[in-house]
Symmetry: C2
Subunit: 339 residues, 2 copies
Amino acid sequence: MRQVVMTEPGQVVVEDRPDPVVEQPTDAVIRLAATCVCGSDLWPYRGVQQVDHQVMGHEYVGVVEAVGPQVRTVKPGDFVVGSFWASDNTCEICRAGYQSHCVHRTVMGSIGTQSERARIPLADGTLVATPGMPDAGLVPSLLAASDVLGTGWFAADAAQAGPGKTVAVVGDGAVGLLAVLAARQMGAERIIAFSRHPGRQRLAREFGATDIVEERGEEGAEKVKEMTGGLGAHSVVEAVGTQQAMMQAIHATRPGGHVGFVGVSHDVSIPGDLLFGTGIHLHGGPAPVRRYLPELIRLIWEREIDPGRVFDLTLPLEQAAEGYRAMDERRAVKVLLTP
Amino acid sequence: MRQVVMTEPGQVVVEDRPDPVVEQPTDAVIRLAATCVCGSDLWPYRGVQQVDHQVMGHEYVGVVEAVGPQVRTVKPGDFVVGSFWASDNTCEICRAGYQSHCVHRTVMGSIGTQSERARIPLADGTLVATPGMPDAGLVPSLLAASDVLGTGWFAADAAQAGPGKTVAVVGDGAVGLLAVLAARQMGAERIIAFSRHPGRQRLAREFGATDIVEERGEEGAEKVKEMTGGLGAHSVVEAVGTQQAMMQAIHATRPGGHVGFVGVSHDVSIPGDLLFGTGIHLHGGPAPVRRYLPELIRLIWEREIDPGRVFDLTLPLEQAAEGYRAMDERRAVKVLLTP
């Protein structure tokens, strides 16, 4: 089969690799209907993270082709969505809703899903079947559920977005934009998106943002305080992963408020006295997307939400390199790849 | 009146100062029934924090002597307990339960309550009257409610201690010990106290600790993981304020678990990637004691809890210096001063 490999920073190729097979009795093998490039794939692409001939991709939807003898909840022919962490969904951590920290977890990025087929470990715990074969128009949204929607949803949930709340979102990438959508679904009263990019501002507003702030860093946080009677937002999502973004998020939050952070932290350090003094709640990390998948699939299936709109460029898998370039240069919010 | 002053690190004196008066229409003046030395008073005492002829003390119970014309909820003759932050209890932040971040807050340490009398700003928002004049035996417990109990309670609450939970407490000072008591009251199943001090271990057990761990730092965290099937505690209280204590707390917590921190942060820095990778919740800061005061006073009044047992040395106000020395040398857990 064909599979995307990052040979070194900035170098993305598509190679022939052996077709995956069921290795463990709990495995499934799926044929990908769609996959995509993640904002986090840009860290190694830009050389911020080491990379050496690494298979790429951790987002996926597709059709089950084979299952191991212990798999019970999905069968060949099912259309499935899974998280970027494979999880058993039965351990104590999974049962508490933290499947991304499952005691038996496997990160799908180590297997790579920018490919024609993929082996999915712990298929019963990881995969959720859709009610039937989706229309082609639903596939991008279902793919979004696999990571960016689930991650934005977790961020909004971790920030305790809800009725009566003012929510601010740092980061106008796909995750940030979908955190806006999530906050709207959760009933937030006011949603402030930080963005300087006209196209992303537009999408943010379509997803439910009521206000756009172009200022960044301390200035951006100050602006949110001005807009909230000097107090700050109740809920702030941090969907970037830099020191500036984290500080912006913390400073934009009112005392007792909540920061939900999902940007993969790169050299971020949080001063203890700042956290002490501000009195905020801080929670985040790799999103337990599996917790939300059944609900997200339902919302997509019933066409209540359309998160697939974050994909503004679709390319054949063979043109993955162009997809990475487009995202790196911010010409595309998110690139869908069709195997 | 007589009032405690720290002239420089390590130097505590009792001086004559003018009696406080009602300055604002919302003020009250109280005559102290008891006051005490706080663990946080040791930071300047040890020179970790700057100090120069500073009035000391922020914990207090006593009898109202005078009130300003706008005070409605307490009157001369009432026995009252207040928090170490004066707060209006009506602003949006107070109404959300974060009175320690009230938009009109005043820190009582700037007024000083290791004294015979004290002016209490925003008396209606700050003070809670007891149902009547307390027996002498209840005074230490009511005094504890003013800070150490309220702070330990907030820490346990921030760590989401509750039924079925395993709670670990870093710090065997008065706040840590009372976080044990709080966790017990909140119904925690298992309470692990970190302590190497036999007397404090004993008190921790009397307050409800089911296990004592003597190891510290990474070793201490490892021990908690061993005791919890490799997962870590659901809830961890950090009641010290050092880097080691914060790291111990984070590492002892399971993914998705909660750290409640109330140790005043000194040079603490939390790596973003650690927080991201562990998936814990982090919340803390100066405790909004006022939120809990009515309930704490009720529990003390009905003799359901006896937090005053953290006071293991009582001295006249005039011997404040000896009180500081005893706490600095860890000869006393907490020193009560009688004006």
